[in-house]
């Protein structure tokens, strides 16, 4: 039996985000009127209610907000990757991102500086953000 796989379901509001990940760029929506950056992609700026959208490339730097390590195979297509550490990150752009930690040496704590990198998923059908500790000594 072919294994069901969960794919992203891009729409016109989100396609540039997924295209960016494939190109190894973290792209975020920026309001074309007031400049507020928002995530996840959606049609309206909740600051000024403009629907004008620009896309900007993010710094890929942030700090750990929270995390959870999954041990239970809720879906067969992710079983081989368990245990998986999912991390919520406060990006420098003041939005959040979820990525998979690919840094076994990292000891997680709230505020730990991390860097966003990229990884192909599902035999290259799409790409996802992954995280490593940022050891550049910045913040």
């Amino acid at each position: 039996m072919e294994m069901e796989r969960l794919y992203p379901l891009p729409n016109p509001d989100s396609q540039p985000y997924w295209d960016g990940l494939r190109e190894r760029r973290l792209m975020l929506q920026q309001c074309g009127e007031c400049g507020t950056i928002r995530h996840y992609p959606r049609p309206v700026c909740d600051h000024c209610f403009s629907m004008e959208v620009e896309w900007v490339e993010a710094s890929r730097r942030g700090t750990v907000h929270s995390w959870s390590e999954s041990h239970h195979p809720f879906h067969p297509s992710f079983k081989a990757d368990l245990p998986t550490m999912f991390v919520t990150v406060d990006l420098e752009e003041d939005v959040r991102l979820v990525g998979i930690l690919r840094d076994p040496e990292a000891t997680l704590r709230v505020g730990l500086p991390v860097e966003v990198r990229f990884e192909d998923a599902a035999d290259g059908a799409f790409s996802i953000p992954i995280l490593v500790a940022d050891r550049s000594g910045g913040s």
Partner: protein
């Protein structure tokens, strides 16, 4: 209008099927069976029902009740799509309807094969309420409520020093109550050591922090209060209700404060409408999809301040004969996951004095909550 719906409606009938794992009944049959029991408990005939609020994410629609019960004139129908907060949200909608004279007797049914039926997968990913996490988080492999909610629990632990043992106290207390209930799936004793030894599901949530997947149905009837006093069973008058949605309602990870639920908005409305304080609550049936969600709701309900939930849990006796009797039926954690309608039914039993071994002595005022869909919270306060 703070007290706009105060005692305008009452729960006049309750019904439950047997709760099982391994049902041979359809989702719709479970809802019909529970509904017929609730209708009989209220002393009504099925054809007396003139309002129905089916579960928004469930199998049955209002038309199914017209067809099965040959309802001559269904005058009010609605859905309340708040996941596990739906049942209590439906009570708010039902009281609104009977208060406005739109209907006399509103049926709120729920029933599903949560164990035997469909599990999580691409179907869930495409449901509108999960669309955002479905697109951005599920393709990474973080798709089940335990995984998504674990980020809230971890953040709470890191910010406030909350401990897994405090989650364990909730699990063991609720299990003790299940052991007193013949219609509960988990009867065997659970110690704190058992909780701590249970396998990790989504750190920090262990197996015994998670509710059960189960099959069953439950239903209640909401009637206008002026009719309720003459009906077959003792009514539970609805003193206050509230519904709240958290900021960033569709995804936890984008929420400014991921340790605050919609409950924090709903609770002040419900308490103000009811005109009571927390000291007046004799029994609390708090939605317990996960132990952490109970602890967080205790804060958001105002039983303690944000961040003090861990200490509050550690210092409070939640047994049926304790300080704040909690989930006296065994909850979603140990009775069955009936989307919280089993909590509503249990509160009514407590206020009638028919709750069996775990009856809270002299229970006069109680509270029931719903929680779901990434953070929606609902609260109802009732009196005997």
């Amino acid at each position: 209008m703070a007290n706009g719906l105060f005692e305008k409606g009452a729960i006049t009938g309750i019904g439950e099927t047997a709760y099982t794992r391994g049902s041979v009944k359809s989702d719709i049959a479970l809802q019909m069976e529970a509904s017929l029991k609730a209708i009989a408990d209220a002393g009504l005939k099925p054809t007396d029902i003139d309002g129905v609020i089916p579960y928004a994410a469930g199998a049955a629609v209002a038309e199914d009740f017209i067809t099965n019960f040959k309802l001559p004139d269904l005058r009010f129908s609605a859905t309340t799509p708040l996941g596990g907060a739906s049942c209590v949200a439906a009570i708010q909608a039902a009281v609104s309807a009977v208060a406005a004279g739109l209907a006399n007797h509103v049926l709120i049914p729920i029933g599903r094969n949560g164990y035997s039926g469909a599990r999580i997968g691409s179907r869930v990913q495409q449901m509108p309420q999960f669309r955002v996490v479905g697109e951005y988080e599920m393709p990474l492999g973080t798709l089940a409520p335990a995984q998504l909610y674990a980020h809230m629990a971890r953040r709470h632990m890191e910010m406030y020093g909350t401990k897994s043992e405090q989650f364990g106290k909730i699990a063991t207390t609720v299990r003790n109550h299940a052991a007193m209930n013949d219609n509960a799936l988990r009867q065997e004793a659970m110690t704190l050591e058992d909780h701590q030894a249970s396998r990790m599901i989504a750190d920090p949530l262990r197996l015994f922090d998670c509710s059960l997947e189960s099959d069953g149905g439950a239903a209640v009837i909401v009637s206008a209060s002026e009719r309720a006093k003459d009906m077959a069973s003792k009514p539970a008058y609805i003193m206050g209700v509230g519904e709240g949605h958290p900021d960033s309602p569709s995804t936890i990870t984008q929420r400014d404060d991921m340790t605050t639920l919609g409950t924090a908005k709903a609770a002040p409305r419900a308490f103000e409408m009811a005109g009571i304080t927390h000291k007046d609550i004799d029994v609390a049936e708090i939605y317990d999809c996960f132990t952490y969600i109970v602890l967080c709701q205790l804060e958001d309900l105002g039983f303690c301040a944000k961040g003090e939930g861990g200490d509050f849990v550690a210092s409070t006796n939640f047994a049926f004969d304790g300080d704040l009797p909690l989930n006296t039926h065994g909850g979603l954690l140990s009775q069955a996951h009936i989307v919280g309608m089993n909590h509503v039914v249990e509160l009514v039993k407590q206020l009638r004095g028919t709750a069996g071994s775990a009856q809270v002595k002299d229970a006069e005022i109680g509270l029931v909550t719903g929680y779901g869909d990434m953070g929606d919270g609902t609260v109802a306060i009732m009196r005997a």
